[in-house]
Structures are given as C-alpha cells and as structure tokens.
Subunit: 125 residues, 2 copies
Amino acid sequence: MAEPIHNTCGSPSLVLGIGLLQEKWAMLIVWRLMSGPCGFNELSRKGGGLNVTTLSQRLAMLEEAGLLTKTIHSTMPPRTSYELTPAGQALRPVLEGIESWSEKHLPVEKACPLMRELGHEQPTD
Amino acid sequence: MAEPIHNTCGSPSLVLGIGLLQEKWAMLIVWRLMSGPCGFNELSRKGGGLNVTTLSQRLAMLEEAGLLTKTIHSTMPPRTSYELTPAGQALRPVLEGIESWSEKHLPVEKACPLMRELGHEQPTD
DNA sequence: CGTATCGCTATAGAAAACAAAGCGCTCCGC
DNA sequence: GCGGAGCGCTTTGTTTTCTATAGCGATACG
C-alpha cells in the first residue's frame, strides 16, 4: 500500500490545504472575494478567463470547505452573493504572501507565458 | 479595485504567482524540496501520488520559473538532484502559512475527500 | 547473466477544464 | 406586449491536463 503522503514530511494539514488551494482558480476566486461579496456573473466576468462551469464547481467546493457562503437574496429575480467566511478571510496573508513573493521572484518576462495559462488576454486595445 | 483581472485588485504578480502555484503538485514539490535536495525517483516516491510524467513536467516548469535547479552529478550512472533556489526557499513562509491556516480552518473530516484528490489512498482496508 | 536501481521519455487512456448554448425569470425601452 | 439584456446557473460536446504503464540506456549487485 502506498505510504500516505502525510507521513513523508510535515503535517497532513499542509497537504490538505495545498490540495484545496491548488485546485484551478481556487485561490483567485478567494482573492476576488477579499474585496467584498460578489454575484455569480460578476465573479465570472472578473475571473479573468475561467468559465462558468468551472466557477460554479469551484464555488461549490469552496463553500463545502467552509471558505465562503452562498446567500440567495431573492428567489425570483435570482440574486446570489458569495461571501468569504472568516476561514476564507484568514487566507489573506497567504495570498498577500504569494503576491509579494511573486513581485520579488517572478519576473514579468518569465511570467508572460503564464498569463495565457490563466486565460488572461492582454488588453492591448 | 473591482475591475477585470488584468488590472483588477493590485498587481498582476499575484495572478502570475497563483498561476504558477496552482499547477497541480507544484506547491507540494516545492515543499518536499524544503528539507533538502532530492533525486527524481526519490521525489516521485515521496510525492504522494503524483506520477513521473507530471513530475518531470512540473520540475521543468519550476526550474524555468527559477524556483529550483537541476544538477547532474554524474553523467553515466545518472545521478540528479533537484534543489531549491533562494526564490524557491522564499516560498517557505507562504507554505507554512497554508499549513497553519489548514490546521486552524480545515477540519480533518472535510479534508478526507480531498486526500483522494491528492492520490492519497487511505487504508480503508 | 538476471534483476534492481536511477533518471527520465513515450504512448495511450481517464479526468478535468473549456467554450458555447440554453433555461427560467425579471427588468427595461419602446 | 414585445424584443433584448441581465441574472444564476446547467447541459452539451471538445480540448487540455493528468494519469498509468511500459520502456530505454547504463551501472551495480549477486
């Protein structure tokens, strides 16, 4: 039987956290929500290239993990808003850490190809 | 700060960093390397479920991004070791941040399904 | 010589993310 | 009242990504 990852080095928690956050778009969605609650389409529009299918899937996952809450404000004109829980908010220093790390160690030249990976079209218009 | 991603919240660097780190296994590989240099198969074995194809791919990517270096010690009995650069090392606080965040906010019960995602088979017996 | 290890690539298949369209519904201009 | 646009998603394929397995050259052990 495969030797579990958590007795390799360090705690299982890290592995868990990584497993959650390495899901595509997860961190970005959380980061978007940092500035306040957001609706589905708004999130989609500002998501920088992620499509609705993945978004709803990711949103469901993050909700289940307890990072955000989904609130339906009105049933008929469907108004929803996604908002970070304290657990989600607690991720801010981590993301800020990534941000400052990126600025220091990730030169833009190298990063350019990555932009495409993120479905990031450079708005040269 | 609520505009499209390419000029949304703060710097594009964050997006870049996330784009890099959200690649499957990337953070975990970096974390493995935190405790010291490692060979390919050793890394694979301790990777907790990632397969060699993805590993070599990810390794190449991380090397190109400047997070680690590949050193070939002997040509013929192929001995290689992957080692973090300062840029890679600088990621430690971020990963530790994720670790402590996970411990606080990611209960093991919820995490269990995630283990599978990480290729982590539990001894369900 | 047979088997095992190391570092990796190549080939196929499974899973995930993708784009595009569509649904029920409501608001807005006309 | 009707067309169009918006909302929050789901459904339908297609592409991209990840995975499993096998294999190469070479050395080292018995």
